[in-house]
């Protein structure tokens, strides 16, 4: 090969690198390991962190994933393909994405879905940017954050939007939920509301939607997609529905995996589609008139529109979307619905049992779904620590970490994976530790 190139050795191929740039010094990097040695090493780390039952949600949920989902998603043809630029050689991924868009849009009760953004947090940021671009009538760049929206999403969204002069205005919750009547801003550009909200409480979404609509603002719904199998879809909220729906797809067949990779999704009414960021797949025909699929509306994207693109996103979270599409296909209408309702029943049972100990009671009184805040009689930090250290159990999210007034509160959920035995054992530990503590 060197001969064909006409050089004497490989070094010559680098002769355009100026001598004034020093040679890299990689001595600090270890010598190579074989796969066997590498797996051995990382297995030690992985094992060190293994825990037992998880009662922690707060945006990431421990659901059952059918074995078929990842067996299929990790087939080399899905796993090691690039973005489907050459449509004719990528019909597998493209058709799958089209099917994904159909499922997501329908779950949200909206017209269109894109093929993913990074995660729920950055997804909210993109949703806000999209809404602001789309809402040309707006006279300000104020975004009302209605009550208990996921705080991690908000921080992320803020990083993404604040440099474009967009301001997020937190409107505190009233007894856990958003009351638009208490909103200090009467002409928001965009309103963001989460259903169920970060505390697991159900917002009065019809009223909120109507309120937003009357003000010619756009409404962004942040949702857990699994709950949409049971809850009213954002597109049907109030008279005219939410404009945009965003969230994190993790509950749809994606392992918690420390929070990533997961995927963010965006759905919207058709009228906003040209402001949508990310890939969108459309159905078309080939030269023979047969059905085929291709990336479409690419004029929104960075590789065509560059500085005027709807976003800078390029690589997205395709593989996770692949898994989610397979997950939704296997679970289907009943599987998704029953999973959501079973999570709810398990959490209800957990809440009832904890309340029965007399050491915990619900912090808020609106109806909740799937996840719930409990005020505990005792030191929550010590409780969660002891649960992990002594019993390998994740006991929920200590809300004191985001709001001092809630420092005796735990946000808890019991997914469909938690057995009665696990819940009962948890309740017993809870009681015992607070008793001793």
């Amino acid at each position: 090969m060197l001969q064909s190139i006409g050089v004497a050795n490989i070094d010559e191929l680098f002769d355009e690198i100026p001598d004034s740039v020093p040679v890299a010094n990689f001595r600090a990097i270890e010598s190579s390991l074989t796969e066997m040695e590498m797996v051995y090493r990382l297995a030690e780390s992985a094992k060190q962190d293994e825990l037992g039952s998880c009662f922690l949600g707060a945006g990431s949920y421990d659901h059952h994933i059918p074995a078929a989902v990842w067996d299929l998603a990790t087939r080399g043809e899905f796993l090691t393909a690039y973005t489907p630029y050459q449509a004719e050689a990528s019909q597998g991924t493209l058709q799958l994405l089209y099917e994904f868009q159909t499922m997501m849009a329908s779950l949200a009760g909206l017209d269109v879905a894109n093929a993913s953004v990074y995660d729920g947090g950055s997804g909210l940021g993109e949703a806000i940017l999209m809404a602001v671009r789309s809402n040309r009538r707006a006279r300000n760049r104020k975004i009302v954050i209605g009550g208990a929206v996921n705080p991690f999403y908000l921080k992320t969204a803020n990083t993404l939007v604040r440099n474009q002069g967009i301001e997020l205005v937190d409107v505190p919750h009233e007894n856990g939920v958003f009351d638009p009547k208490q909103c200090p801003i009467d002409d928001p550009n965009v309103v963001v509301v989460q259903q169920p909200n970060f505390f697991g409480l159900l917002e009065n979404v019809d009223a909120i939607s109507n309120w937003v609509n009357e003000r010619n603002a756009l409404l962004i719904a942040v949702v857990n997609p699994l709950t949409l199998a049971v809850l009213k879809p954002p597109g049907e909220w109030g008279e005219s529905g939410a404009d945009i729906c965003s969230g994190d797809g993790q509950p749809l067949g994606v392992p918690m995996a420390s929070g990533g990779p997961s995927f963010g999704f965006l759905c919207s009414k058709m009228k906003h589609v040209r402001q949508m960021p990310g890939r969108i797949v459309g159905k078309t025909v080939d030269a023979n008139g047969d059905v085929g699929y291709t990336l479409t509306l690419q004029a929104r994207e960075q590789h065509i529109r560059r500085a005027k693109a709807t976003s800078n996103i390029c690589t997205n979270q395709g593989l996770l979307v692949t898994a989610a599409t397979i997950y939704m296909s296997i679970m289907g209408v009943s599987g998704l619905r029953n999973t959501a309702s079973r999570c709810h029943e398990n959490t209800k049972y957990l809440v009832a049992q904890l309340e029965a100990t007399g050491r915990a009671q619900r912090a808020f009184h609106s109806p909740y779904f799937h996840e719930c805040v409990l005020r505990c009689a005792g030191d929550v930090a010590a409780l969660t620590k002891s649960m992990i250290t002594d019993h390998g159990v994740l006991a929920g999210y200590p809300l004191g970490e985001i709001d001092e007034s809630l420092d005796d509160c735990l946000l808890l959920c019991a997914t469909e994976k938690r057995t009665r035995d696990e819940i009962d054992r948890f309740v017993e530990l809870f009681n015992r530790i607070l008793n001793e503590g």
């Binding site: 990097i29 690039y82 449509a87 058709q95 947090g121 950055s122 990533g260 459309g282 291709t294 289907g332």
Partner: protein, 487 residues
């Protein structure tokens, strides 16, 4: 291979995968008005139907595991299955992102090790692993540049310079950072036009975004001069790490005058692209920008690993992800780095460069026109099919489509925009000479075909599941989801 009906077409109301359907839960007590009435459009199929559908769909994809995939700038090299296995262990997969650090020492030690490795690889001071792709790394970089200037009380700088050949994410990122983009020219030899740079650089310059090797697939030889020019004007240098594969272990961006950069771990560190993602785009900075890195990072306090959050990093640009980014991709990248080791990393650059130069030489000998014939290829190179387009009426697009029929993915086409009818070809270090030779033969064969029957090539592909797709119609008559009635 026949086209595959949509999964909704094979659905039947009421059908389900019984083994996956938990017992229904009790919803009493929830307000009716908040419940769903409409049935969502989800498949109602058996597990076998789903398995068969997606098995069939997958077979309609080209992939690294199945095909040569010389997509320039995308570094489609072998994704070791061992890295995937290592990251798929239950201890990693089942970890809740809000598990406290004291119970996550295994994972945090991995992230720490990766941060350290990437510092060495880039020659920079500090690393944050958070960004979830290259473009998000660029955003983080842009925001850090902005934060830095603002902290210096310098509010006038509102321009980011990018070469005309830059990747689309560069100008798009500048916009998201609230900056204006100014393009600078590229000289005939592929290097940045320094005179043009000197003309536009100035007190409004927040920074410049560059790749090196550049998107023209050549090494930017006057990089140090560029760095001095921008620095002298008070601007900062951003390194777009998409092409780091070419110089891994040879030179470090930190030694070329860059202040901040991202790495595309899904390229240089071979994590699978998954038909679009996920990736990971860690950022690395010199000490100037260290205070602004996105959180969380992993720190070490005595012998314990801790998360560095706002309280440790008060000047941070903030969070970019709800949790800590694409953790699973980071583990894969660490696994890859461990397997390569220091020797292996240099080999990556050398073999990638050898393969690209060989392929360039062979194509050139076969009569194809290199875009920069006087230059070395880096890990990739550009050819222009302008002559073929003019003489035979067969464009780069047609060559690309016809290559698919030879069971090879097409190179990147029409990027960078400044080279007409171009192919950006990146064979990567994991392909054999035999594969490269086959590519040359296929290209020659297609040219022959074009000479004999241009129409045939222009109608390609011929042996794929679909013939050439009508993209114009896709955009004009938007059909973005299935609805039974439409058909």
């Amino acid at each position: 291979m026949p086209t595959i009906p949509s999964i909704f077409d094979t659905s039947k109301p009421g059908r389900l995968a019984g083994g996956q359907t938990p017992k229904e839960g009790d919803l009493t007590g929830l307000p009716d008005a908040l419940l769903r009435e409409s049935k969502p459009v989800l498949p109602e199929v058996s597990e076998l139907q789903a398995v068969r559908h997606f098995t069939k769909l997958s077979q309609q994809n080209f992939s690294i595991d199945g095909n040569f995939y010389p997509l320039g700038s995308c570094t489609m090299k072998y994704n070791p299955r061992g890295a995937h296995r290592a990251a798929s262990q239950p201890g990693f997969l089942n970890r809740h992102p809000l598990t406290p650090a004291f119970a996550s020492q295994g994972l945090l030690s991995c992230f720490w090790e990766l941060q350290e490795t990437l510092k060495t690889v880039t020659g920079m001071e500090a690393v944050s692993l958070v960004p979830m792709a290259g473009a998000q790394g660029e955003l983080a970089g842009g925001l850090m540049i902005r934060a830095y200037h603002e902290d210096c009380g310098d509010f006038e700088r509102d321009e980011i310079l990018v070469p005309t050949a830059a990747h689309g994410t560069n100008p798009a990122t500048a916009t998201m950072c609230g900056y204006k983009t100014r393009e600078i020219g590229v000289a005939a030899d592929g290097d940045v036009d320094i005179e043009d740079l000197k003309r536009v650089v100035g007190p409004k310059t927040a920074g410049i975004m560059l790749t090196n090797p550049s998107t023209c697939a050549v090494f930017e030889r006057r990089i140090l001069e560029i760095a001095d020019t921008v620095h002298d004007a008070g601007g900062l240098l951003y390194y777009d790490g998409a092409n780091l594969n070419a110089i891994l272990g040879k030179v470090c961006p930190g030694d070329m005058g860059f202040d901040v950069l991202h790495l595309n771990l899904h390229k240089t560190f071979a994590t699978p692209h998954g038909g679009g993602g996920p990736g990971a785009g860690p950022v690395a900075v010199n000490s100037l920008l260290q205070p602004y890195l996105p959180i969380p990072m992993v720190g070490k306090l005595d012998d314990e690993y801790i998360w560095l959050d706002e309280s440790y990093c008060p000047l941070t640009i903030g969070k970019l992800a709800a949790f800590m980014g694409n953790a699973g991709i980071l583990i894969r990248a660490l696994a890859y780095a461990l397997m390569l080791g220091r020797e292996g990393m240099v080999r990556v650059a050398e073999y990638a460069t050898l393969n690209a130069n060989y392929l360039a030489a062979e194509l050139s000998k076969a009569g194809f026109q290199l875009a920069y014939p006087t230059r070395r290829a880096t890990h990739e190179f550009l050819i222009t099919l302008n002559k073929e387009a003019k003489d035979l009426g067969v464009r780069a697009l047609d060559f690309a489509k016809r290559l698919l029929d030879f069971d090879m993915h097409a190179p990147t086409t029409y990027f960078p925009l400044l080279v007409p009818e171009c192919f950006l070809i990146e064979p990567t270090e994991t392909e054999t000479k035999a594969v490269l030779d086959e590519f040359v033969s296929a290209m020659c064969k297609i040219r022959e075909e074009a000479q004999e029957n241009a129409e045939y090539v222009k109608q390609a592909p011929h042996n794929q599941v679909v013939r050439r797709l009508d993209e114009v119609r896709a955009a004009r008559e938007l059909d973005l989801n299935w609805s039974g009635n439409k058909e």
